[in-house]
């Protein structure tokens, strides 16, 4: 996947507009983290690294972080709170009880 970037292409006139309702680049400039009122937190003691949460997350809010263990390539989910909108899909879909728990947002 390309790096997240704040690049945003805005069209001016009809002639610069793509014919369909499509962004001219990624939507990464749209920091959906500002919508969040519930914060998912991953408990890495319980997390098995199955990456179900990463697959289901509707925003670029769970990054798959590569690491090595016993000479094997593995991944772990890391939540990017700039984008996490607190929709709760990850903790509904996570197959491991308690691997993702939620904390209230706020001070």
């Amino acid at each position: 996947m390309p790096e997240k970037t704040e690049k945003q292409i805005v069209f001016d006139k009809v002639k610069d507009t793509p014919p369909l309702a499509v962004s001219l680049y990624t939507m990464d400039y749209n920091k959906t983290g500002s919508w969040r009122n519930v914060r998912p937190v991953i408990d890495y003691e319980k997390c098995t690294g199955c990456m179900t949460c990463w697959k289901f997350c509707p925003e670029p809010a769970i990054d798959a972080e590569k690491y090595e263990e016993d000479g094997k390539e593995k991944y772990k989910p890391v939540i990017d709170y700039e984008y996490c909108k607190g929709c709760g899909i990850c903790w509904v879909e996570c197959p491991v009880e308690g691997a993702i728990y939620t904390e209230e947002e706020g001070e």
């Binding site: 390309p2 069209f11 009809v14 507009t17 369909l20 309702a21 499509v22 962004s23 680049y25």
Partner: protein
């Protein structure tokens, strides 16, 4: 090669010969044979396509949009309640500019449950932006699927190929199957400029405010306007390659006609035979069949109507609280003309009630006795 087939199978063979790649579909009477044959051909390898079984028509259209957005050529088919269930995503298909081709079998809407023909199901989708083509026989159905892809993909607007339930969907006719090689040349693979591609990410249909939405809508209107000449061009090119020419409208004996019968789909075929009989009786009458309803061929209709004394539109549909829908559109097309002829609106054949050649002759003779249209609806065939 000629093959005997029902109208529904003409849709299936049209999709096959156009090399549709994804077919998400849900069966509904009287459309079932369309998708039955397609699923068979996908299963036995005759078609190199993915058949997606879905749980509803809403999902059929949603899957069609997703598949088309990846750049696949997509076909689906439905009817009546199924089309109505798709309504929300019909708008989406247009906004997403996915050139899906869909067969719709015109069936009257419930309640009461019914399966016989009427055009109100598809005409109620008039303002979604889908192009609409009303076919009159199985050959035209098959040929129109191929043409519909060519036009739809050029302007990136989806298109419906529409046929009358039973009268056409279940009637067997000999149909010429075009050669695959020639179709491949006529209709090259679909290559959209924007498609879902993980290597080149875009957001599709993302939130757009008043600063961007208007331009997108403007572009849809421009694209569907561009499709008007395109239907004639593609229909003429089809004629050169395959020997059967098509256009936005079809005229019959209009050159010296004083009076005009206007209709669509299979009703127009019946009207053609009525014109022959009326001509034998010395009537100067012609037929205008509206083949493409969206985009609406206003200019073509105006030019034919400019030389006649009166016209009657025969509609197998109704917009409750107004009138027949083709009638409204024809009237609107000529309203700003200097001296438009009086136009009479007849509603006939609702819910599949038979409309015979004699009925059309009666309609014609009745309106010839009237001085002017007194109301927007002249009912034909309803037991009052």
């Amino acid at each position: 090669m000629r093959k005997v087939m029902i109208g529904n199978h003409a849709l299936s063979y049209g999709a096959k010969i156009s090399r549709a790649q994804v077919i998400p579909a849900y069966p509904i009477t009287p459309q079932t044979e369309v998708v039955e044959l397609l699923s068979e051909m996908c299963a036995n390898g005759e078609m190199d396509a993915k058949f997606i079984k879905v749980e509803s028509e809403h999902s059929a259209m949603t899957a069609s949009i997703g598949a088309s957005a990846t750049g696949a050529r997509v076909f689906t088919a439905t009817s009546a309640q199924g089309l109505a269930l798709m309504h929300e995503v019909l708008h989406w298909a247009v906004g997403a500019r996915t050139p899906i081709v869909m067969g719709n079998i015109n069936r009257a809407m419930a309640p009461p449950w019914t399966i016989w023909t009427e055009q109100t199901d598809s005409l109620a989708q008039r303002d979604t932006g889908w192009m609409q083509l009303y076919a009159q026989n199985s050959q035209e159905v098959l040929d129109s699927v191929i043409q519909a892809y060519k036009v739809a993909e050029a302007v990136q607007i989806p298109a419906m190929v529409i046929l009358a339930a039973f009268v056409l969907s279940h009637t067997s006719e000999a149909v010429e199957l075009p050669e695959q090689g020639k179709v491949d040349e006529f209709l090259p693979p679909y290559e959209p400029e924007y498609r879902i591609d993980p290597a080149n990410p875009h957001a599709f249909g993302g939130l757009t405010g008043p600063d961007g939405y208007f331009e997108l809508r403007y572009q849809i209107q421009k694209a569907i306007e561009d499709a008007l000449p395109k239907w004639d061009e593609v229909g003429a090119e089809f004629g050169e390659v395959f020997g059967r020419k098509y256009g936005l409208i079809e005229t019959y004996k209009v050159e010296d006609a004083k009076n005009l019968i206007i209709s669509s789909a299979t009703l127009a075929s019946t009207a053609r035979t009525a014109v022959d009989t009326l001509r034998e009786k010395g009537e100067k009458v012609g037929l205008l069949r509206i083949r493409i309803f969206r985009p609406f061929p206003s200019a073509q209709i105006r030019s034919i109507l400019s030389s006649v004394d009166r016209a009657v539109v025969v509609d197998r549909n109704i917009s409750f609280g107004a009138s027949g829908i083709f009638y409204q559109e024809v009237k609107a097309a000529v309203y700003n003309e200097k001296n438009p002829p009086p136009i009479f609106g007849v509603i006939a054949g609702i819910g599949g009630r038979d409309v015979t050649k004699k009925d059309i002759i009666d309609i014609y003779e009745d309106i010839m006795r009237m001085d002017e249209p007194k109301s927007d609806i002249i009912w034909k065939g309803v037991r009052l």
